[in-house]
């Protein structure tokens, strides 16, 4: 189509085109470049945040060590608390924050500070991803039971819940009702828990029938 144009004419056409469309082209390229840079920056930022959280968490694991069931010396406890707080304050959306909060809850229970453990598990419930909630709520309910806050605990175990946690929830419900001396309903709950035991550790498998058989016969 441009065969019959001389060089000079071609240049003129080009200049004309540039005059008309140049600024929009520049803008488009500019937007494209900005979008690219922006995306890169955002990715980098995400990666950085993730790595910082990861580093803090690694530090936390080192502080707690493998002997997680023993009580930590005060100094380490303080370090752990500091790291946990960092994770919870600055990296709320990271899974590491939730994990840290679970560690904190355990530390509080081990230190017999049930109120603080309750707060910790409430925080975890609020910030955790949906799939972890059944597990966190179960722990929360157990902390309620330990404080004899039975209505709160019951309101958790009475929720419509995921099937796979059925046995664990039912057993806890039995514990709560038994603690309130509601033997008949406790029996129903334990039986339900016993009926849905699956892949269960032997400890629970053994203890559950004992709980069941030790419920007094009649209503009190």
């Amino acid at each position: 189509m441009t065969d019959h144009l001389t060089d000079e004419e071609q240049l003129r056409v080009l200049k004309h085109w540039w005059k008309k469309n140049g600024s929009s082209l520049v803008t488009a390229v500019f937007i494209g470049v900005m979008a690219y840079i922006g995306f890169q920056w955002w990715q980098n930022y995400q990666q950085q945040q993730a790595e910082q959280a990861s580093a803090l968490y690694s530090e936390l694991l080192k502080t707690i060590g493998v002997e997680h069931n023993n009580t930590l010396p005060d100094e380490k406890k303080n370090t752990a608390r500091y790291l946990i707080k960092q994770l919870k304050d600055n990296y709320k959306s990271s899974q590491y924050a939730t994990n840290a909060s679970l560690f904190a809850a355990k530390m509080f229970v081990d230190a017999h500070d049930l109120k603080a453990a309750e707060q910790e598990l409430l925080w975890a419930t609020d910030h955790a991803r949906e799939h972890l909630k059944p597990l966190i709520q179960l722990r929360l309910a157990r902390v309620y039971v330990a404080q004899e806050k039975y209505p709160e605990a019951l309101s958790i175990v009475d929720q419509k819940l995921v099937e796979q946690f059925g046995s664990l929830y039912a057993e806890l419900k039995g514990d709560i009702l038994a603690a309130q001396q509601d033997w008949e309903n406790a029996r129903v709950a334990y039986q339900q828990a016993n009926g849905t035991l699956e892949n269960t550790s032997s400890f629970r498998r053994n203890l559950l029938p004992i709980k069941l058989s030790n419920l007094p016969a009649g209503k009190k």
């Binding site: 082209l25 968490y57 059944p134 046995s167 550790s201 058989s213």
Partner: protein
């Protein structure tokens, strides 16, 4: 057309269009727009969009096999290590791993390269002499299909999966209340007393009529089935048997002997020492004569070597030069050596510019083993080889002949093998050695042998170098047993039933008196039955049948001091009447710190394990898991 497009695409439209093109380019890079991932036939499953490849499955299979072997040693049944039995569980585990990896990724869990590298350099697989070796690392991971970058990515995935798993497993707790509850219940003790109505000889004294037996037989005969039985004849081809029959001629043995001679003989070894005197001048000449004189006078060779020898390498070592098989030293030297007897010293020998006195220290002449000596061994070896050859060719003949054979007799004559016969036996085998082998049993009851009446295939029993063909000679199918055959059993059963009924009657009457207020002890005296008592019995207590304990600990607590009466029939037929008098809670006060601690650990890990299991199956349930092909075989 392009012209019209160019005319129309202007201004904002142009910006919009170009922007539209730029964004995916910026996000994905140019490759992804133009090169679509080729279809990967290698994918085995997909978990929330993440693929699990055949390569991953193979690697996991390999490491699982290794794990089983280190755990159980070399005697793991091969069936357990087969792809078939391992593939399912391994794939399951990979799917679980992928599920948790997905959780971790969505939760922005990651690990720094630095931390991953720290682990990698510590892996013994990648170390040479205790130090990380990067060549070894690269080669090893390449051999399993990874590059350093993809290997690191795989490690990162494993590590975050572990972090996530541990975050749930390590954070579970046990409240004081829960510990107390567990102690109170699991360490509970109970007091009780019981009497036993023993079955003993009671069944024998029961009377059972023929009519009763008949009736019982008629109503149960559908269950009275005999075992299926067969008797077989078989031919067994054995290497050791063949060995007895093959002959080896003297000529063959001799030919073999001669062939082996080269490898049998070894050259003679001479251990040598020398005294060397360098040069041809007068001084050297004088020194040489002096040595010669002293040697002749019988002076010690080693001492002289130390004093006179110019060979610095050997003189302080008695002139010792080592061992020659005839080609170590110069020709003149070796020649002189050949003439020496053990302990002799040679005349002076001139080699190049030096004169040597040579002493033969030891002579180690190897004799070529004689034919007579080797004969037996060679004969045995040749026989074995011939027998094995014959074994292989005889198996072929056996296969051909046995396939169409009317009976094994003819085949046996052809191959000069005796035909053996077994008595009737069932699927569980019999005493005959060959019937201990599961493959023989399987063949004996196979359709081919039993239904079609053919000979079996040739069964090669590699363990003792034998091969076998079997053929059925008699078959007794399953049938209903006759009354006559079952009479004794049925009578016994009926007597037992009657005796148990008698005990139950007694128990009921005892129960009635107890309900009317008689105490168990008074009653035992009245009936002449001994009363056993147990105080503070645990769930496992010596001297009390476990069946009784299990029953007792499942009984409701007694309402008052009177206790709670119950009865049960034990497996051995005895009848027990028991009075549960007291239930005592487990002692929490005297729990030691160590006990408390270990209880706490056990409870926590048990609970955590259960929670984790539940969580995992929930993830699986909710996830989008697709398994394409579980049957893909090994490469």
């Amino acid at each position: 057309m392009l012209q019209t497009m160019r005319n129309k695409i202007k201004g904002l439209v142009a910006i919009f269009l170009i922007g539209l093109l730029v964004i995916p380019l910026a996000l994905l890079g140019i490759e992804n727009l133009f090169y679509k991932n080729p279809y990967a036939p290698d994918d085995v499953a997909e978990v929330n969009g993440q693929k699990i490849t055949e390569r991953e499955v193979q690697l996991a299979l390999q490491s699982e096999r290794q794990r089983l072997q280190t755990q159980f040693g070399t005697n793991v049944p091969t069936q357990l290590l087969s792809d078939e039995s391992l593939r399912g569980p391994v794939l399951d585990r990979l799917i679980h791993r992928a599920l948790i990896a997905d959780v971790a990724e969505k939760g922005n869990m990651t690990l720094l390269d630095k931390e991953i590298d720290e682990i990698i350099v510590k892996l013994p697989d990648f170390q040479v002499e205790g130090k990380f070796d990067s060549d070894r690392f690269v080669n090893l991971i390449r051999s399993i299909g990874y590059s350093p970058a993809t290997f690191r990515a795989m490690m990162r995935k494993d590590m975050v999966v572990n972090q996530m798993k541990n975050a749930l497993l390590m954070t579970d707790f046990v409240t004081d209340q829960e510990i107390e509850r567990a102690v109170v219940l699991s360490r509970q003790t109970r007091d009780f007393e019981w009497i036993t109505l023993a079955l003993g000889d009671l069944p024998e004294s029961m009377l059972v009529s023929d009519d009763e037996v008949n009736e019982y037989y008629e109503s149960n005969k559908q269950d009275y089935l005999s075992e299926e039985q067969v008797a077989i004849e078989y031919l067994e081809l054995r290497v050791d048997q063949l060995e007895k029959d093959v002959t080896v001629s003297d000529d063959e043995v001799r030919a073999q002997y001669e062939q082996e001679l080269d490898s049998l003989s070894k050259p003679t070894e001479r251990e040598v020492a020398h005294i060397m005197i360098e040069g041809n001048d007068d001084a050297a000449q004088a020194k040489m004569l002096e040595v010669q004189e002293k040697l002749a006078a019988g002076e010690d060779f080693a001492t002289l070597a130390a004093k006179y020898s110019d060979d610095f390498g050997s003189r302080d070592n008695g002139g010792h030069l080592g061992v020659s098989t005839g080609d170590v030293f110069p020709a003149e030297f070796e020649q002189a050596l050949l003439d020496l007897k053990e302990g002799d010293v040679s005349e002076p020998i001139v080699v190049d510019d030096a004169t040597h006195f040579i002493k033969l220290l030891t002579l180690n002449a190897y004799e070529t083993p004689s034919f007579e000596k080797e004969r037996l061994r060679i004969t045995a070896e040749l026989k074995r080889i011939k027998a094995e050859e014959k074994f292989v060719s005889d198996i072929e003949i056996l296969k051909d002949l046995a396939y169409n054979a009317e009976n094994l007799e003819e085949v046996g004559i052809e191959l000069n093998l005796p035909v053996n016969k077994t008595a009737l036996f069932s699927r569980s085998g019999a005493k005959d050695v060959i019937l201990q082998d599961s493959r023989v049993l399987e063949a004996a009851f196979s359709d081919r042998v039993v239904k079609d009446g053919f000979s079996s295939e040739v069964l090669e029993l590699s363990t003792d170098n034998s091969a076998m063909v079997i053929k059925m000679i008699e078959h007794k199918p399953v049938r209903t047993l006759t009354l006559e055959e079952k009479k004794k059993d049925i009578t016994g059963e009926l007597k037992l039933e009657k005796a148990k009924a008698r005990l139950t009657e007694q128990a009921v009457s005892i129960r009635e008196s107890l309900d009317n207020g008689t105490s168990l002890s008074a009653l035992s005296e009245e009936k002449g039955l001994s009363l056993s008592t147990q105080v503070a019995a645990k769930r496992h207590a010596a001297g009390v049948p476990q069946e009784l304990l299990n029953h007792l600990f499942a009984m409701p607590h007694p309402d008052d001091d009177q206790g709670r009466i119950d009865e049960l029939s034990l497996d051995n037929g005895d009848y027990v009447i028991v009075n549960l008098t007291k239930v005592t809670s487990g002692d929490i006060e005297n729990l030691t710190d160590d006990e408390r601690k270990s209880l706490k650990t056990n409870l926590a890990s048990s609970l955590a394990g259960d929670e984790y299991q539940a969580w995992q199956s929930m993830l699986r349930e909710e996830a989008n898991v697709e398994v394409y092909n579980t049957e893909t075989s090994a490469l």
